[in-house]
Symmetry: C3
Subunit: 347 residues, 3 copies
Amino acid sequence: MAQDHSNGGLSLAELARDTGSELRGDPSYRVFAVAAIDQAGPRELSFVHDGRYRSFLAGSDAGAVILPPAMADLFGGNRLLNEDPYLAYARAVELLHPPPPARASIHPSAVIGDGVELGERVRIDAHAVIGNGCRLQDRVWIGPGCSLGDRCRLGEGTVLEAGVALGEGTRIGARCLLHSGAVIGADGFGFAARPDGSWHKIRQIGDVRIGDDVEVGANTCIDRAALGSTLIEQGVKLDNLIQIGHNCHIGADTIVAAHTAIAGTARIGRRCRIGGAVAIAGHLEVADDVTITGNSMVTHSLRQPGTYSSGITAEGNRSWRRNTARFHHLDELFRRVIRLERRLGKE
Amino acid sequence: MAQDHSNGGLSLAELARDTGSELRGDPSYRVFAVAAIDQAGPRELSFVHDGRYRSFLAGSDAGAVILPPAMADLFGGNRLLNEDPYLAYARAVELLHPPPPARASIHPSAVIGDGVELGERVRIDAHAVIGNGCRLQDRVWIGPGCSLGDRCRLGEGTVLEAGVALGEGTRIGARCLLHSGAVIGADGFGFAARPDGSWHKIRQIGDVRIGDDVEVGANTCIDRAALGSTLIEQGVKLDNLIQIGHNCHIGADTIVAAHTAIAGTARIGRRCRIGGAVAIAGHLEVADDVTITGNSMVTHSLRQPGTYSSGITAEGNRSWRRNTARFHHLDELFRRVIRLERRLGKE
Amino acid sequence: MAQDHSNGGLSLAELARDTGSELRGDPSYRVFAVAAIDQAGPRELSFVHDGRYRSFLAGSDAGAVILPPAMADLFGGNRLLNEDPYLAYARAVELLHPPPPARASIHPSAVIGDGVELGERVRIDAHAVIGNGCRLQDRVWIGPGCSLGDRCRLGEGTVLEAGVALGEGTRIGARCLLHSGAVIGADGFGFAARPDGSWHKIRQIGDVRIGDDVEVGANTCIDRAALGSTLIEQGVKLDNLIQIGHNCHIGADTIVAAHTAIAGTARIGRRCRIGGAVAIAGHLEVADDVTITGNSMVTHSLRQPGTYSSGITAEGNRSWRRNTARFHHLDELFRRVIRLERRLGKE
């Protein structure tokens, strides 16, 4: 993005104070934007938080760099030392690139239902549709083309980007951010088999409740409960294209990467870190503080904190063909080895 | 969801009759809502259909419970005995929580093309766009912000939730339900390689045809055929975020869980049960009555009914690292075992 | 789709010339549509480009067939011989089924921001929202309900189907096609862990830049960069429901099938062919001309051209249960075989 240098910039003294960093360099030096370490110029602030980009430090033209103290000697210019450079960077971006202030306004093309309650400085963009009886607290921002079913409630400062759909009765806390195309509160997937093999839909009469400070990625789906509520606790971060089945319960501060699917009635603990493209079966429990690496398949409860994995990494097609064919005989191989061991007797 | 007790409720005599159950208890006792067995109160009806929740029965305050006859003795209160408690429950939810009656109306912000034919009691919500020559039969309901290309046809009582997009010429049967963000009739993915390595798009001039009583989940995509039709037969149930490639043919009453991808020109039989996050290659056939468990990878035709599986479940990260590294030498291991067997000679 | 025969059709002489094929048959014979080889009638053109459908040739009623020269003798009627029948077919479809001409128009319900620049013959459909300062070049077509953030730029002839969302500052080249529900420029997924286990959002201040002739499938997501740009080079073809993480760089003419997820800061080469349901980790490189087969898991850089694979195909559930259980002891099995080898000594 063309960096906007029209702001007045910030002095390194200000940045050190507001990011809780120790300054080594010129306190009055001003930077106007953040940039990656291999691209930053003299008017820009950069950061290095682990070894991956340290090789760029020596040749960097950055006006200042946020660094961990252990790497202080790798850069000759202005340094902001911080034990957690990534968190300090997160704060610096906000200071140097504040979001434009939201203008409170209701676009004339928006359709507002009966009995809707709007807080202060609410913004509703073009072609949004707000169902009857919705309550939007202060500074809620509804993007263009969003659709809220009847009786939704959104907490202070929550933002829906373009084209988000909320089913009726959805409740979302404060300061949440839902990206475009997210669908909250579509029917859970519940059918009873009829004797003739066809399916009888189970009406899904529950709802979705989302806590404060939750982020929901683009085109992610969170289904309404069959009965009761699908629960997303505060601080949960969901990436794009994720499926959360009906009656799931996701614990606070759990983070889930893109393309992961969690089937119905799974109960995921707090502070879990779930990689991308993971598949988690329904009706199971994952304990607090569990990490699941990308592409894993979880079919049983994981009751102890720790890191869990599955999946086999790609190899050359020719060797893969041989190995994968062998997999289908793996049990037989075990039996053959056991037989060999028996024939050889005790060691 | 806050249960709405404002309806008049139903007597157990009525519920027994309308769900085909045998009542053990007070025929004049009235319940007003359904609830989960661990949450139901005296004015609510619950159900237990398998062993998973039986432990809650003894302590339940439910006003009545639907049970299989074999579990009749596990609950002391009013019981509705049914050989298929889940199906009986499905019916009870409809009786106690009927959907609000749809009000026929065309919202003034909807844009209706030329030559559109509308049946009786059609509802078209705000900001929907109906292309030229579409035909919507009686009681069709088009949600807010939906977009129908030219010449789509929708059968009686079919409902599109908010933000569904139908490509031109899509045909959908009666009583279907398409959830928000579903995209039906986007181009199939077809390109011919040019000699220089770039791609020449194949115009996709086919369509999508969907039978009666089909459900399509949120953000699910069904592509139009290159030539001819992508076919979804009656009674198929598709969950969220599913991909159905061009020219697929899905047989009647097949059910597919979320995040499954079916590549182009696959032919799936009737009454199949396909789990979530399954990947099915194109140009193959799956027989009727096949079950594929979640996360499986299907690259060859499955010609016999039965249950098919693949995928390896998650384990502790440390042991996974060792096992997965070994997988890449699995063929070599077979060869080593064969060599050992040869050295030891005949048993 | 009901084929529209109202066009005047084309003579085989014209088709031979415009597809660069050698005609064997009647140059004045006219065909009016294309159709699959097992369905084509005397007024239709079909094609067979590999062995898969050759068996239909002998009995086909097609008015003419595009064939590779090696298969010329398998069909008795009019033939158009071409070394690349699929590419010739692609051209023939365009000739016989040209897309309807786009009518330039701005629908009165569209909302156009301040300072928007529109080229010649731009079309903007109902309920679309164009942010401030957007620039749309000649013949751009914005479908119904699309939303463009501020300062987006779209090149000549680019088409957005219904309900596409572009984040602010997105730049898209010429002749691109984005299908319904695609979300370009949602925030990348970046959070810094706070000491208490909660997450601090990293403001994503970069953008997405897409080259010429790119196709983006329905409900596919391409996230904006944290800093700088997520780059999709010219000629890239992305299928439906794909996730492209922030700061990815996808090389020219790479093609990716549905449901694949590419995590942040991955750099994919040119002319790669990536199957469906592939999961690619972030911060790695894939060389030019790499093929990755469907359902593979890529966690390390692939630095050499070639074909890479992983994934284990489905088998009967009973044998799968045995084999997958054994996998968790694979490392142990290797150790046991090594022990046996040691006991037997040198050969």
